[in-house]
Symmetry: C2
Subunit: 160 residues, 2 copies
Amino acid sequence: MEWLDFSTDNCSVQRTVGLVGEKWSLLILRDAVNGIRRFDHFRRHVGLSEAVLADRLRRLVAAGILETAPYRDPGNRTRHEYRLTPKGWDLWPVVVALMQWGDKHTADPGGPSVTIRHTGCGAPVRLSVVCGEGHDALTPRDVTAAPGPSALRHSPRREA
Amino acid sequence: MEWLDFSTDNCSVQRTVGLVGEKWSLLILRDAVNGIRRFDHFRRHVGLSEAVLADRLRRLVAAGILETAPYRDPGNRTRHEYRLTPKGWDLWPVVVALMQWGDKHTADPGGPSVTIRHTGCGAPVRLSVVCGEGHDALTPRDVTAAPGPSALRHSPRREA
């Protein structure tokens, strides 16, 4: 596939980036998959302004990635917390992929700040690219990208 | 792990997001893994201004994700193209994770615009979270996050 000849208008990476490809949105997702649900907890833990947090939460709710649910602490009025939807949980591999790269290339000398293990056997987990025939740990050299059913030609054709 | 009690200062997700967690950087990476190398090709295909592209390329080179290499077309002066380093190729799963989510949740009715197959057997590929003992297709429910060797307490302790 000559990628340059294809339009990015309906690129799945681009559409996903348009919804979550932004610093605060990605950090909110990181906190959400780690169990954070309340506005004030996001704000203090992620460390961003109320206005930016409110905006990013609104966008993630609009995208169907988070949904709100009421809760009420004793003596307080009812508030809303933010929970990942199934569509939101589908972004978990994105967070794991960012973490895996950071663990390898940016961690402190002592090692990562968080470990993720398979609860059933205790072994650490990693992301792997696998194929439908069961071959795993595929690298970019092992795969071939091809135009899919909705591929669009890039227009105008590149000049050089 | 009570994530709220831990500092995000040395979080691997956060550090990675600080380097590539931005719309244009992620789209440049998408194009790079698809073989784009030249400034003008990035500019026309990704569709961003020269100034923003130059800035993002500079940051990606500074982070060791891209490296420059000279090339010369007949009759032209020597220019530089941008190639992924091994550290940059390690971001491939991030791009695949974004694509996989987009294919499922944002693709046109006809299907994705790009397909990736295992060259050896032709089967489509997907990202899977696997563990060191060989269990695969792990979901967020199958894993446990725990403080790693460099975990830092969050301070000040949350108020509510």
